[in-house]
């Protein structure tokens, strides 16, 4: 176990090194994400500002909590963009083209290599910007900061980043079973767009079942905010942890079974 972790860390270091060197070959590709991602982020913020300038509260949350929520969702999104999104996103292409063959025949987890192969340093500023929004939200909502609150918040950010990752992998694992799965990616995008604008506390009835259980995008930023504001009760904490665990199992099974289904592409 310890040896395996050490090996994976060494592979991760080399992947990061190769990625940075690869990006530096083309100067435009290296610098462009810093501007493009930043610009898209600012456009998104502008859209939120327009929406929430006319809304004072959603459920029990005021503007401060809402800004904290938007910052938290942006942070999760930025973590995904920086660390794993571009790698995981390439899975359907690698399955269709048969490139996955080269990952399966190497003595390192194919998913591990795919996940960390396309780390995007250009998305790091998004993390910084998200942190600024979080700080602004805390300040605006007069949210009381405690050490336990911050540690709890970071813990929930961490496990929700795992859930975010699992959702991405799960959706792309479908490509191991069926040839075309573009619509699923569109659905993922639509759900993310909706849940980035509306916190989980806004959902009721069937929508709550959909966004808390079936496609749990609704809890991803809601739970860390609830922890920070002190609203989280133990039932919610258990539920959140359970969902992450459940989706970890489903993702692992779907991926592993998918590899058994993999037929490669004819060459």
């Amino acid at each position: 176990m310890k040896k395996n972790i050490k090996k994976n860390l060494c592979v991760l270091r080399e992947l990061l090194y190769l990625r940075i060197h690869g990006l530096m070959v083309f100067r435009f590709d290296f610098f462009a994400p810093f501007f493009v991602d930043g610009s898209l982020f600012l456009i998104q913020l502008l859209a939120f500002r327009v929406v929430y300038s006319n809304v004072d509260t959603i459920g029990d949350w005021g503007r401060g909590e809402m800004i904290l929520y938007i910052g938290t969702f942006s942070l999760l999104n930025a973590i995904s963009m920086t660390i794993y999104f571009f790698g995981v996103n390439s899975i359907p292409y690698k399955v269709r083209s048969g490139e996955l063959d080269l990952y399966l025949s190497k003595p390192v987890s194919p998913l591990f290599r795919l996940t960390f192969e396309n780390i995007s340093p250009g998305s790091v500023p998004l993390i910084m910007m998200s942190i600024c929004i979080i700080v602004y939200g805390i300040h605006m909502g007069n949210i009381k900061i405690t050490l336990a609150g911050v540690i709890g918040y970071l813990f929930w950010i961490m496990i929700m980043a795992v859930l975010y990752y699992e959702m991405e992998v799960m959706i792309r694992s479908v490509s191991l079973y069926v040839v075309s799965m573009a619509r699923l990616e569109q659905m993922e995008e639509a759900c993310l767009n909706l849940c980035m604008k509306l916190p989980g506390i806004a959902f009721y009835g069937i929508y709550k079942i959909i966004f808390y259980l079936i496609l749990p995008y609704g809890i991803m930023a809601t739970l860390p905010v609830q922890r920070m504001t002190g609203e989280m009760n133990w039932q919610t904490a258990v539920y959140g942890t359970g969902i992450v665990f459940l989706f970890s199992v489903i993702t692992a099974v779907l991926w592993k079974q998918g590899l058994k289904h993999y037929n490669s592409a004819s060459s």
């Binding site: 080399e14 190769l18 063959d101 025949s105 190497k106 060459s267």
Partner: protein, 331 residues
């Protein structure tokens, strides 16, 4: 002592493929009801390979060669039958198993195109957990063997196809694999590059004792390298034996193409078993038995030939002949 490192028994791989009727009506009806057909890519293949062997796997397109290699490397799972490679079931995808073999696919690259080969080698050093000492030793050995020292710090995308294939082999051999699977390694290479690659493979098999399984469309590869050849067609194994015997027995003819400076209308040949396949004033193509090829060439030289090309029979013809002989025997 049993030296068998690859063993398959009645190995089968079938694919299900969707069949659609022609036109819009077919497309609409396929939304509700789909017709599938089973395609058997590998059919009841029994194979055993001993340590240190250099085996050629030949057959026409769609014969099942690549599918067999993919099952042996664990990339895909077999549908039926037994498979054992180095004591493992390949599709279990155990890292301990994957550390002991390497696979090079002529049409898929494991190099990072924007970076140098040295950069890629560093990643593979970590993936295969090679010590720094072994890494340097192996790298230097292969770099010297392939004569590519000056290319190690060059961007991969600037390398020629032949140079790139040498690099693919270095990356694959860095961890001293017990088995090397090669799927069409000389595809698209010119004669010089192909010959170089063949020489390296021969050297590696001899010096390192690496067991090599090679699929190729080129007879030259198989003839030059493999003592044993397996011929496949329609997923089944139709020949498994000595390469020399295979070509002696089944490669019966040669194709001779002659071009002339001056137009030549008709040539009355003494060589009795030469058949004229193509006839034009400046070019004639003959098919002749291997025994009579020398006589025919001597005769043709008398007509002031500009150029002569001699070609071996293609894999397809040999496969057809083996197949024919098989059915004649059954009859």
């Amino acid at each position: 002592m049993d030296h068998t490192i690859i063993r398959t028994e009645n190995l089968v791989k079938t694919y299900r493929r969707y069949k659609k009727k022609e036109g819009l009506r077919g497309s609409v009806s396929s939304l509700w009801k789909r017709d599938y057909e089973e395609k058997t890519a590998v059919n009841q293949v029994n194979l055993s390979v001993e340590k240190g062997e250099f085996i050629g796997l030949i057959g026409p397109n769609g014969a099942g060669k690549t599918t067999l290699i993919k099952m042996l490397t664990g990339i895909i799972a077999p549908t039926e039958g037994k498979i054992d490679v180095l004591g493992y079931y390949p599709n279990a995808l155990k890292n301990a198993f994957k550390k002991q073999f390497a696979v090079v696919m002529g049409q898929k690259s494991q190099l990072f195109f924007e970076l140098t080969v040295n950069d890629t080698l560093r990643l593979f050093k970590e993936i295969y957990e090679i010590s720094e000492e072994d890494f340097q030793k192996n790298k230097n050995y292969f770099v010297e063997l392939f004569g590519v020292r000056e290319l190690m710090d060059v961007q991969v995308r600037t390398l020629s196809l032949g140079e790139r294939m040498k690099m693919e082999l270095i990356v694959a051999l860095l961890h001293n694999p017990k088995i090397l699977f090669l799927d069409e390694p000389t595809i698209g290479l010119d004669a010089v590059a192909s010959k170089q690659i063949r020489n390296f493979l021969k050297e590696i098999n001899r010096e390192k004792g690496t067991t090599i399984l090679l699929t190729s469309h080129y007879m030259e590869d198989i003839k030059a390298l493999c003592k044993r050849t397996v011929v496949m067609t329609h997923g089944a194994k139709i020949y498994d034996g000595r390469t020399e015997e295979l070509f002696e027995k089944y490669q019966k003819n040669k194709k001779i193409t002659v071009s002339f400076d001056e137009p030549v209308k008709c040539i009355a040949l003494k060589t009795f078993d030469a058949a004229l396949m193509e006839n034009s004033p400046y070019k004639k193509v003959y098919e002749v038995s291997r025994q009579s090829a020398k006589d025919l060439l001597t005769e043709l030289m008398e007509f002031g030939t500009k150029d002569i090309a001699i070609e071996e029979e293609e894999i397809g013809v040999i496969v057809e002949r083996i197949y024919q002989e098989g059915s004649d025997c059954h009859e």
